[in-house]
């Protein structure tokens, strides 16, 4: 397992910066920690080939990273687990408020064919008190396999009750700010639209879909408190959705959204 004694700070990029880039939010405050885990996928064949990961940590809204570090080399037989608090320990001064923007690349052996060896990155956030425990698969934005970034994405399980509130996590990997809004649909198909959310360049937003943002109260999703949401963005960003118990602070739901796809009208069988 990677630990702080094996992470090495570097001054310039090591991995090819035009390769697949993973994005994430680094959350290291209030007892919440971020781990990034890399496990090899099923089609991995050359298990003894080695790889290493490079991380760039950005203060929110800053184009240039304040820290770059690399892991030791791992083989595809191993699990790479990077505790981000150990990466932060490489920085010699305090930065920001414990919430950062992180980019990651993985070096690739030149003899490997594309798709021969692949890794599944999993980000997990865990708090010391156990209240936050969420895991999410990769969030590629450049060169990745999954088209998670569109400028219209939806999520079918928004919840808004006395006990639970839904949050959207919007990541902007670009240098310019992008305006967005969220439409919250009830089961009858009616929607309300949030105020504009401007996500700064190399920054993210994590607002709760509450009365202040949505301009209406939870009765919109009543009586069950369940609906769906559509994120509308001027330009395609990465959007995730979290659901939190506002009474206890427990958050165990974090999931990705899907591109809104307009197919042709369904053809009924029979």
């Amino acid at each position: 397992m990677a630990d702080s004694t094996h992470l090495t700070r570097v001054d310039r990029p090591v991995a090819p910066q035009d390769s697949v880039e993973l994005l994430g939010v680094l959350w290291e405050r209030d007892g919440v920690h971020t781990n990034i885990n890399m496990v090899s996928t099923h089609f991995t064949r050359a298990e003894d080939v080695r790889f290493q990961a490079e991380f760039a940590l950005h203060d929110r809204g800053e184009r240039e990273p304040f820290c770059r570090f690399v892991t030791p080399e791992f083989s595809y037989r191993q699990n790479m687990r990077v505790l981000m608090k150990q990466g932060l320990a490489l920085v010699d001064r305090e930065h920001g408020d414990g919430l950062y923007f992180v980019r990651m690349w993985v070096t690739r052996h030149r003899d490997l064919a594309r798709g021969q060896n692949d890794l599944e990155p999993w980000c997990d956030y865990q708090s010391d008190d156990g209240k936050v425990y969420v895991t999410i698969p990769s969030s590629h934005y450049k060169g990745g396999r999954f088209p998670t970034n569109r400028n219209l994405v939806y999520f079918p399980g928004a919840v808004w009750t006395d006990r639970f509130v839904t949050r959207v996590l919007i990541l902007n990997p670009y240098d310019r700010p992008v305006p967005c809004s969220v439409r919250l649909f009830n089961t009858g198909g009616k929607f309300i639209e949030s105020r504009e959310i401007v996500v700064g360049g190399k920054d993210y937003a994590f607002p709760a879909l509450d009365e202040a943002l949505m301009g209406a109260d939870q009765r919109h999703l009543g009586p069950a408190g369940v609906g769906s949401l559509l994120a509308v963005m001027r330009y395609k960003l990465l959007v995730f959705v979290a659901i939190e118990n506002v009474h206890t602070g427990v958050m165990t739901c974090l999931d990705h959204t899907m591109p809104m796809v307009m197919y042709k009208e369904p053809v009924l069988i029979n």
């Binding site: 397992m1 885990n37 496990v39 996928t41 099923h42 083989s75 037989r77 191993q78 699990n79 687990r81 599944e120 999993w122 997990d124 865990q126 156990g130 209240k131 425990y133 969420v134 895991t135 999410i136 698969p137 939806y154 079918p156 399980g157 919840v159 006990r163 639970f164 089961t187 069950a224 369940v226 659901i243 118990n245 206890t248 427990v250 958050m251 165990t252 739901c253 999931d255 899907m258 809104m260 796809v261 307009m262 197919y263 042709k264 009208e265 369904p266 053809v267 009924l268 069988i269 029979n270």
Partner: protein, 168 residues
Amino acid sequence: MYETADLLKEARVQPPFHGQVFINLRQFDWGSLRAYIQWYNEAAITSTHERFYTHAGLLKHLYTVPRALCHLHKDLEIRVAIVNSDPKQTADLQFVLQTDDGFTTESTKRVVRPNGSLFASLYELFPNCVAILKEGLGSVYLANTDVSLTIYYFTYNKETRAWQTQHI
């Protein structure tokens, strides 16, 4: 929106129960239709989406080796939920527990009948997992099988009584 508790009641099935929810959509195009599942109790809500499966033209593929990262902790219980999505073929499943440095241990085989399911904790699959995993960290994966499977993993925090899930 359906409560599975109501569906079970209609089917006169007494809880506790685990199994497969199979939705037969009578249309060719899904468009943006998704079946989204939420598991909840008073402590927390956790959710993920369905796994697409079709009988028509299904290739017999070498199935994935999905891995569930596990983090053994005294308050956490780790479970895998697996459905044999193949309507005809029985699945002989063998789990592999891998430490972070690559050491592997195989479980005894578990038989899951067509359309059957398995909801097993890591302790049931690997009774000696505490001794195997250094610092409680490792991953679980399935040895290759040519049967189509639908797989989720769950963690249950005994202290907060919160469930967390992800598909694999």
